[in-house]
Subunit: 323 residues, 2 copies
C-alpha cells in the first residue's frame, strides 16, 4: 500500500480524496491544512493541521500537494521535498525550468523524489506533444483548449468594477480543428484558434455597455479574441455556470512523403477539470513512491517517467493485457 | 549520430528509409536483404546481402527489423539481438510475452538492447491504454480500428477460389464512437463496433453471388460483422484501392464521481500505415541506442521506456518547449 497525505484541500484536494478511493493500492493518511482543521469538511478523510505533517513523517510515502501555482507551490514543493516524496501540478509554464531546478536540488540533497507539473497541461498534453513530434519531426503541433472554464479569465472579469460575479468559457474553433484533422497546413493567429464567451452578473447600477467594452478590449485576456458577453442573473450563473468542465486537443499533423498526411489527435473531454487533474496526480504519486523505493532520487516530470510506473499492475500483466 | 541498418525492404523498410531522412541525428548505413541486392530499388540507400550484416557490425548502432510477424521476426529478432541492438514491430498480440521472454534472454546474455512490438498497435495504442487506465482505473477502454485497409482480411479474400484480387476496409462505427465520447456506457458486440467493406475483382466466369456468400459467412474474418461486397475491375482496384491508409481510436471513458464523465480520446488518421509505423520504429531506434549507450541491456516494450528517450532534443529543451 502506498500511503498518501493530501496537502491543501480545495477542489483539487477533494478530487484527490475521491481518486484515492478508487485506487485499491493507495491509502489516505489524511488531509493537512493551514485552516483550522475542524472547519474543513472532507468526504471522510481525517484532517490535521499543517504543523502535524512532520510528526507523521514515518507514516507517509508521498505528499500530494494541492495548492495553487501562483504562491503555494513555488514555496511548498521545495520545502516539503526536504522531508517527503512529493507530487505537484505546478502549471506556470514559463517558470517550470526554475521550479524543477530548485526542487531537484532539494531532492538530491535529501534523497527524496518529487514529480512536478503533473496534470493535463502541463502533463498529459506535454507527453503527447513529445511522442508526436518525436515520431513526426517535420510536422506541426497545435494545442486547443476547451470548451471549458478558465479560472484566470473568470478572475479577470470579476476584478472589473461593477462586476459582481462571472464565468468565462474558452471555446476552440472546431472548424479550424476539422481542417487540420483533414491534413490542412494552416498559419493560425490567436483569434483563429479560440473564442471567449463570458457570463457576467452586474452589480446594481452598473452600465452593461461600458463593462462590455472594458471586457472585449482588455489586453492579454480578451483583446486578441472574438469575445461574446452575456449579462445574466446571479441565480442563473449559480445554476448553469458553476461547474468546472474543461478539456482540449493536442493535434499533430505531418507528412511522411509529399501529400501523405499523418494526423495524431489527443483529445480530453472533462466534466470536472479538478477531479481529472487529481486523478493524474494520484497515478504519478504511485510512480513517485516506486522511484523512491528504488532510491532514484531527484526531481522528475512526466517526460522522464517510464509509463509502466503509473500502473498498479505488474509489467508482465501489462504486456499481456495492453500490447 | 545514431547509425542504423534496415533489415528487410518492403513497404515498411522503405518507410524507415524515408523517416531516417528527416531525422538529422540518424544515419542510414544501408539496407540488408535476403534478395539479390541488385534487384532491390531503394530511394538512395546502399543495398547489401544479409550475409554482409555481421561484417559491418562495428558500423551499426541499431538494426531496424522490417520483416513480418508471422515468420520473419520470431526468428530474426532473437537471432540478430545476439550481435546487434534491435527494434521490431512484432504485432502478433497473443505471442508478445513469449517473444519478449526469448529476446530478453538473448539481450541479457549478449549485453544488447532490443525494443520489441513498436508501431501503433501494439505501440502507441498500448501506451494510451496504459496512461488512460492508470489515471481512470474504474473506466472502460475501447479500441476502434480504421477506416483502413486490413492486410489480413484482404489476404483472406484473395485466397477464395474465383477471386483475382481484393482490398478490405475495416470501418469503425462512428455513431457508437460519438455516443461513447458523449459519456455513454455501452455493452458492445463485435458487430456493433466495426463494419467491413470489400472491393473484389473476380476471375473470368466466377459467380458473384456464390463468392459474396462465401465472404459474408467466412468465420473469424467476416461472419461476425456487417459486410458489404463490391465487385469491381482490376483497373478500378489498382486506381482507387491500392493505397494503405489506416488509423483508429483508443477511447477511455470513466467517471470521477457519479455522473461526472471524463473522456480520453487518442485518434490516428494515417494516409500510409507502413510509413507511420516506420516513423515510430525510427523514434524507438533512437531510444534503443541511448539505452545501449547507458548499458541498460535487455528487452523493452514501449511501456518501459521514458518518453524523453524518443526525442532528439535535450531534456532541458523539452522542459522549456513542451511542459
Amino acid at each position: 500500500m502506498t500511503k498518501v497525505a493530501i496537502v491543501g484541500y480545495g477542489n483539487l484536494g477533494r478530487g484527490v480524496e475521491r481518486a484515492l478511493a478508487v485506487n485499491s493500492d493507495m491509502e489516505l493518511v489524511g488531509v493537512f491544512t493551514r485552516r483550522a482543521p475542524e472547519t474543513v469538511a472532507t468526504e471522510g478523510a481525517l484532517v490535521f493541521a499543517m504543523a502535524d505533517l512532520i510528526q507523521q513523517k514515518d507514516k507517509i510515502d508521498v505528499c500530494i500537494l494541492c495548492g495553487g501555482s501562483a504562491t503555494d507551490l513555488p514555496q511548498q514543493t521545495p520545502e516539503l521535498t526536504r522531508d517527503f516524496n512529493t507530487v505537484d501540478s505546478f502549471d506556470t509554464h514559463a517558470k517550470i525550468p526554475e521550479h524543477f531546478a530548485k526542487v531537484d536540488q532539494v531532492a538530491m540533497e535529501n534523497k527524496t523524489v518529487s514529480v512536478i507539473s503533473t496534470g493535463w497541461d502541463p502533463g498529459l498534453f506535454s507527453l503527447n506533444r513529445l511522442y508526436a513530434e518525436s515520431i513526426l519531426p517535420t510536422g506541426t503541433t497545435y494545442t486547443f483548449w476547451g470548451k471549458g472554464v478558465s479560472q484566470g479569465h473568470s478572475d479577470a472579469l470579476r476584478r472589473i468594477g461593477g462586476v459582481a460575479d462571472a464565468t468565462q468559457y474558452t471555446i476552440p474553433n472546431q472548424e479550424v480543428i476539422d481542417k487540420l484533422k483533414a491534413g490542412a497546413q494552416l498559419e493560425l493567429t490567436t483569434r483563429d484558434k479560440h473564442f471567449r464567451e463570458c457570463f457576467v452578473v452586474l452589480e446594481e447600477g452598473a452600465d452593461p455597455e461600458v463593462i462590455k467594452n472594458e471586457i472585449v478590449t482588455m489586453p492579454n485576456y480578451f483583446a486578441d479574441y472574438d469575445t461574446k458577453v452575456h449579462f445574466i442573473s446571479q441565480e442563473e450563473l449559480n445554476r448553469d455556470h458553476k461547474a468546472m468542465p474543461h478539456g482540449g486537443t493536442v493535434l499533430h499533423a505531418g507528412e511522411t512523403a509529399p501529400g501523405v498526411h499523418q494526423v495524431i489527435d489527443y483529445t480530453l473531454k472533462l466534466d470536472s477539470n479538478p477531479e481529472f487533474t487529481a486523478s493524474v496526480l494520484v497515478a504519478y504519486a504511485r510512480a513517485c513512491a516506486r522511484l523512491a523505493n528504488e532510491k532514484q532520487c531527484g526531481a522528475y516530470t512526466v517526460l522522464d517517467i517510464p509509463p509502466k510506473y503509473l500502473s498498479a499492475k505488474t509489467v508482465e500483466q501489462l504486456r499481456v493485457e495492453l500490447l
